[in-house]
Symmetry: C2
Subunit: 426 residues, 2 copies
């Protein structure tokens, strides 16, 4: 029954029942965590054979003849550039294989634009009176933080089922020269799990920003992270940009953090050759070379994109049941109450839910008091301000499935309780 159709007595009774169950749950002293997109322990085991590849007696020569254990090759070894070019659908010359963190590559890309400027721009961003970034919401908190750190003003753009509201994006970038970039997670977006439609990608490729140094930060973090047998597909933005002659407009990012080991994987940046050369010109003062032993380890383990995809099938087998547990429980517990909506993702690491307006913070608080940690309400919005206080990001990957089930049961209970409180207070 829809909670909105209950009368005061029914609501009060419903709330009392929730409170009773909540007290019981609290007494269990749970200590569960659904807050971050961390792979589970079983997922980490999948990549253990990779650590056996480069050992005493192994060949440490890259295909260009260089010993990967020594200094050199700032942009990464050729075979690693090839592998990740294949993964991102670009050319090897359009790739820098960096350290282990794509977040660092993104921070550094903003930092370089800030201090030194980018091709097409007249001056470094720091010399501009005002710099703004478009932030599709809900989105990834760490993206927003990077730009906030530099004092860049963050402008919300609503997400739709096909990607960011492109009418708004087109209008804003064509009118406002201070808008220098946009944060995108184009496939299985964080947190919504939405993949940008072909039309959205084409509209990105056809953007005509007033700022000549505008950049799309295309964080393809979940490009091979499918959860179903009918995965989403994403149109190749670089191909589309080459058709419009605007290939300098994108910086692409990805990493193997959720393919092999978080923090000990390999991160990549892809961009036009002009962008890559401009990047290397500054990067050359920041590093001599990145960890090529780890690059070679990854390449020897995966061999090619087929190898990555086969490996991701194993992740899928471990992750899909966790997502199913969450989605089934949401359906069963609150599916017919009109107090929560969500999108079933075909990949990625999150399930994004929307409560009744003004209930998200309360739900997170209730969960926390009963021992279940969620990503903070508001975290999916710039400045942590969710204007309607509705969005919560659920990360099902880390807890073992029994714990996850307890956590999501409690979550549903908290949604019911918070919703009843809210409706009774109106």
């Amino acid at each position: 029954m829809l909670l909105s159709e209950m009368n005061k007595e029914q609501l009060a009774e419903f709330k009392a029942d929730c409170e009773k169950k909540y007290a019981e749950a609290k007494a269990k002293n749970l200590k569960l965590d659904m807050s971050r997109g961390k792979p589970g322990a079983d997922q980490l085991e999948l990549s253990m054979p990779m650590l056996d590849i480069l050992r005493e007696g192994a060949d440490f020569k890259s295909e260009n003849g260089m010993d990967v254990r020594n200094y050199g090759v700032l942009s990464g070894i050729p075979e690693a550039k090839k592998l990740f070019a294949e993964m991102l659908g670009v050319k090897p010359e359009e790739v820098i294989v960096g350290g282990s963190s794509s977040l660092t590559l993104m921070f550094d890309a903003v930092q370089r634009a800030w201090n030194f400027g980018v091709p097409g721009g007249e001056k470094p961003w720091c010399k501009c009176d005002k710099v703004k970034f478009l932030c599709p919401v809900p989105g990834y908190d760490r993206h927003f933080s990077v730009t906030e750190t530099f004092g860049i003003e963050l402008v919300n753009v609503p997400m739709t089922k096909t990607g960011p509201d492109m009418d708004m994006v087109e209008k804003l970038v064509s009118e406002d020269e201070s808008i220098k970039g946009i944060w995108c997670v184009p496939m299985y977006s964080n947190p919504d799990g939405i993949t940008y439609s072909d039309e959205t990608v084409k509209r990105f490729a056809n953007l005509s920003p007033k700022a000549k140094d505008f950049r799309i930060f295309w964080d393809n973090a979940y490009c091979v992270h499918h959860l179903t047998d009918k995965p989403d597909t994403l149109l190749n933005l670089m191909d589309e940009l080459k058709k419009t002659g605007k290939e300098n407009m994108v910086y692409m990012f990805a990493s193997t953090s959720k393919i092999t080991f978080p923090g000990a994987g390999v991160a990549v940046m892809a961009a036009s050759e002009e962008n890559i050369q401009a990047t290397l010109k500054i990067l050359n003062f920041q590093a001599i070379s990145y960890d090529k032993v780890n690059m070679l380890r990854h390449v020897r383990f995966f061999k090619n994109l087929d190898g990555i995809n086969a490996h991701m099938e194993k992740h899928k087998k471990l992750l899909a049941p966790k997502f199913a547990a969450v989605l089934d429980t949401l359906d069963r517990e609150v599916g017919d109450m009109g107090i929560l909506d969500w999108v079933k993702p075909n990949g990625g690491y999150f399930i994004s839910v929307n409560t009744l307006p003004g209930c998200a913070k309360r739900v997170v608080e209730l969960c926390k008091e009963a021992g279940v940690v969620l990503t903070g309400a508001g975290a999916t919005y710039p400045y942590k301000k969710d204007p309607e206080d509705r969005n919560i990001r659920i990360a099902p990957s880390y807890p073992p499935i029994e714990e996850l089930q307890m956590a999501i049961d409690l979550f549903c209970l908290c949604v019911k309780l918070a919703s009843a409180e809210k409706l009774l207070s109106e």
Copy 2:
């Protein structure tokens, strides 16, 4: 015989003889490299057992219980902080174990100061009208480049046998508020191989810079890289700074690039707890965590500082004969001619030589034409401008010893030829 005491005829004859030998050498089509401080292939083999440590079945838990294969712990795992704190003579709380490159840690430290400021400062360095850095010369080209990239003005300070000219350092920093830092390689300096004397370190600890946000960039790159049985010793700057209450004045750096694998080692930054906390506040937006698998691999391999020192003994056995070959050849070939001087280093990676004024570029050019690549003349000075054109950095580590011998023989011949050319032209 001193070349300066030869008459014109003797000099012309000497030069003709050198030219004949040079033509013969050129005909050999050598292809040798003494340009960069790269470990030799035999040195890389020393650390191979480290790659066998973390494999299937190994324990991947850090001593704080965290799985090093997953996200988390921005400042590094506790056991790695302990190990490198021991190496640098600081407390574990004063350490960040970063990625694999200390150059990146230094670049990022300058970048953070530039954009966000440091404790003690009133504003970010980029907001100051003028920012200058002191550069002991000759010094490390990549240090100078980092600051040059940000448009910081580089000010030469001559090196003495006990470290930078401290009279000049004290005078400049106490008078000029725009001087925000100094680059130091305090032990086995690059390129001179000089270790700062106790008095120099104490004078650093007692500096009273006019800029309240002045920082000593203390790159202790060669702190365990001894070449003799009577190694130099370096007074602990952090201890001295704590006595004067000025411990915020230093950023220390080191890495295992020349202990395990260049580019695939572990880099560290050490500083006062206040500096570390301020650093982490910004770093938190740039990274989630660094490669903890590689950190644990290093700690399990070395166990403690004794383990590092024992490992460095093996490097010494491979490197000392190469340094001896160069020094013996210099002595034998040009020792009594008054055309070259140098300091015999007790550690580090370089031998720094000074030619007659105005001869360094010519020597490097002659070497190059005959197939021996040296570090560019001038590279050891800011803006690549050696005012007297005298200094050349010789890096004996990379070539196998037979090649090294050929290279240094040719080098000596080129020094003789260039010197004769010079003296004849006067």
